[in-house]
């Protein structure tokens, strides 16, 4: 036995337990090859490293290494006021800042018992679903890019994303770092012109999804590369705490919009798409279907949005001291359950500020999905998890 084989055999023995994936034995006589994929690897969506042990092309072990983008967000938040953490939340999952804002605002509103006006709730839903749409579109684009179709689907996705980001910029002043939500509403009101523009953009979105599907869904190469690859059994997904499209692709019906009905989601009529196999293709398909459902919610919300204030006139955004206590606010972010857990000791800063990031927790089962697969598929499986390193490392 070579050194590396002994090392991995020992490491596997030590780690054997209820939570460990099955050990895959190398089948040849050759040595294991250790490859550090990343941190600068085009497929890793940022600075993320996978230490892979390969037997030929087969993955025997995979160790995800993260922390390269650690920015000390949680500790910083304990030292600044509640309001000052709001722009930092934009930088967690920088593809969908609106939903990060929302989850944090929800947690603080729970802590202080703050009410949110009707119109602000509608605006939150509209922006949240736009965010979901553009996140899924670009994540599919990245997934296909990693499959080798460099550019085309990604650029189509970005063309659509551009329209949505323009809406964000017009309303909030920034394309990505929006800093839009406040405790007790939203920062600025949407003008009728903006709402009309949004309606126009939303009317164009189904055409984009149709185009995307014609381009990809029945493509034989995509099916050959993705079907049966990166299987995630429902039991493992539930045990590992996986949420979002990943979990639903494995066939578990769990959507916090339905479970919690936070905000005003119980007013909208929408379905939760579920997958059968839990492979990469199912994850792709779930995202496509969720984009369609998001368009449905957007249409309903844009039809019903009432007039009124967007900010509770009694709400304080700065200089407030919540009563001692704790609150957990969670939403269905495009990537999964995004939660903010806050403890207040009655001071102007949170005593403890903790984020439950969907990206990090969805990433923990990466090894289980990759074992026994080809190294080229690892990149694909990793892409199908849909992570943003800003949120993984915080």
């Amino acid at each position: 036995m070579s050194d590396s084989q002994t090392y991995f055999a020992n490491a596997a023995e030590k780690l054997e337990g209820w939570n460990r994936p099955a050990v895959i034995e190398p089948d040849g006589d050759g040595e294991l090859l250790e490859v550090a994929m990343g941190p600068h690897h085009p497929s890793t969506h940022g600075v993320f490293r996978m230490d892979v042990a390969l037997d030929g092309e087969r993955v025997i072990r995979l160790k995800p290494v993260f922390g390269y983008l650690h920015r000390n967000h949680e500790k910083i938040a304990e030292g600044v006021s509640y309001l000052a953490s709001m722009p930092y939340t934009d930088r967690l999952d920088y593809i969908c800042p609106i939903t990060n804002n929302w989850a944090y605002a929800l947690a603080v509103e729970k802590l202080t018992g703050q009410e949110v006006p009707e119109r602000a709730e509608y605006l939150r839903v509209i922006l949240g679903e736009l965010t979901r749409f553009q996140n899924h579109a670009s994540s599919i684009g990245f997934l296909i890019q990693e499959m080798g179709a460099s550019g085309t689907p990604l650029m189509y996705a970005f063309r659509e994303r551009e329209k949505i980001l323009d809406l964000f910029e017009e309303l909030t002043g920034a394309r990505m770092m929006v800093n839009y939500m406040r405790f007790g509403g939203c920062r600025v009101d949407a003008s009728p012109a903006w709402l009309d523009k949004t309606r126009k953009v939303v009317e164009g979105l189904p055409g984009f999804v149709d185009e995307f599907e014609r381009l990809l869904s029945s493509n034989e190469i995509l099916m050959a590369r993705t079907q049966g690859v990166g299987l995630l059994p429902a039991e493992l997904a539930v045990n590992a705490g996986v949420t979002g499209p990943m979990l639903r692709a494995s066939g578990v019906n769990y959507d916090i919009r339905k479970v919690d009905g936070y905000g005003i989601y119980n007013r909208f009529n929408f379905r939760v798409p579920l997958g059968d196999h839990g492979d990469v293709y199912d994850r792709y398909m779930i995202r496509v279907l969720e984009m369609r459902e998001a368009i449905g919610i957007l249409r309903q919300a844009l039809k019903d949005i009432p007039a009124g204030p967007v900010m509770d006139s009694k709400a304080k955004i700065r200089g407030f001291r919540p009563k001692p206590g704790e609150a957990y606010g969670r939403i269905e972010a495009p990537k999964g359950e995004l939660g903010f857990y806050l403890i207040s000791d009655g001071g102007p800063n949170p005593y403890r500020y903790r984020i439950r990031p969907p990206s990090l927790i969805n990433l923990t089962i990466l090894e289980d999905m990759c074992l026994g697969q080809n190294v080229a598929d690892v990149v694909l499986i990793f892409g199908s998890v849909d992570i943003v390193l800003g949120e993984v490392d915080r």
């Binding site: 800093n179 381009l215 493509n219 995509l222 700065r318």
Partner: protein, 205 residues
């Protein structure tokens, strides 16, 4: 048939490719330095300090007309703490004629600033606003990105140029405040006046 899906996808890309010759909607990019898209009304990049010039194009009275009273709320609320303010020891009359402190030093390190607009939101004096200028690259990464109060000072007219609706709303609010303050002083003078009149009348008798 095997390959049907691929052909369908190819047809889609071909449609997009040829469509771009006929439909302007399909061309989504502009050639940046030559062509520019005007920024949105709400666009924000880095903060600047507003001053009221007496004779508008004149930039000489940036120091006298500065609205900032060095209350330091923005410095306290700034999430990455990129604002540094030194309060003056003496007072100067502001637009309403009330003696106020002014910032003896007001620095913003725009290499740290994260354009969150919280300083603008918390400022009670409408003194700090967001600029839309984004071409700020410099060879000097420390000194060149640390802006002092003179570099930060921009006139109210400039503010009108970049955020017209917002600036008009701010002007209306400030004018209302000023009118209210003037009415108050007038009322105070008027309240004093009868007693003076009565006193002089008493003297006369």
């Amino acid at each position: 048939m095997l390959g049907e899906g691929i052909l369908k996808g190819m047809a889609e890309t071909a449609k997009n490719f040829f469509g771009s010759y006929f439909s302007a909607d399909r061309l989504t990019t502009v050639e940046y330095p030559e062509q520019r898209i005007a920024p949105f009304e709400a666009a924000r990049v880095f903060p600047f300090l507003v001053y009221d010039a007496k004779n508008p194009p004149d930039a000489a009275d940036w120091e006298a007309g500065m609205r900032c009273v060095a209350c330091q709320i923005c410095e306290k609320e700034c999430p990455p703490k990129c604002i540094y303010i030194e309060k003056s020891t003496d007072r100067k009359p502001d637009a309403l004629g009330k003696p106020q402190f002014y910032p003896a030093r007001f620095d913003i390190d725009i290499s740290v600033c994260m354009s969150c607009q919280i300083c603008v939101e918390v400022c009670p004096f409408e003194a700090i606003k967001m600029d839309t200028e984004f071409e700020l690259s410099t060879g000097d990464r420390f000194g060149g990105l640390l802006l002092d109060r003179k570099q930060l000072a921009k006139s109210n007219e400039y503010y009108h140029q970049i955020h017209l609706n917002e600036a008009n709303a701010v002007d209306a609010r400030l004018a209302a405040e000023k009118a209210k303050a003037e009415a108050k002083t007038k009322a105070a003078v008027a309240a004093k006046a009868p007693s003076i009149a009565a006193a002089t009348a008493g003297e006369g008798a």
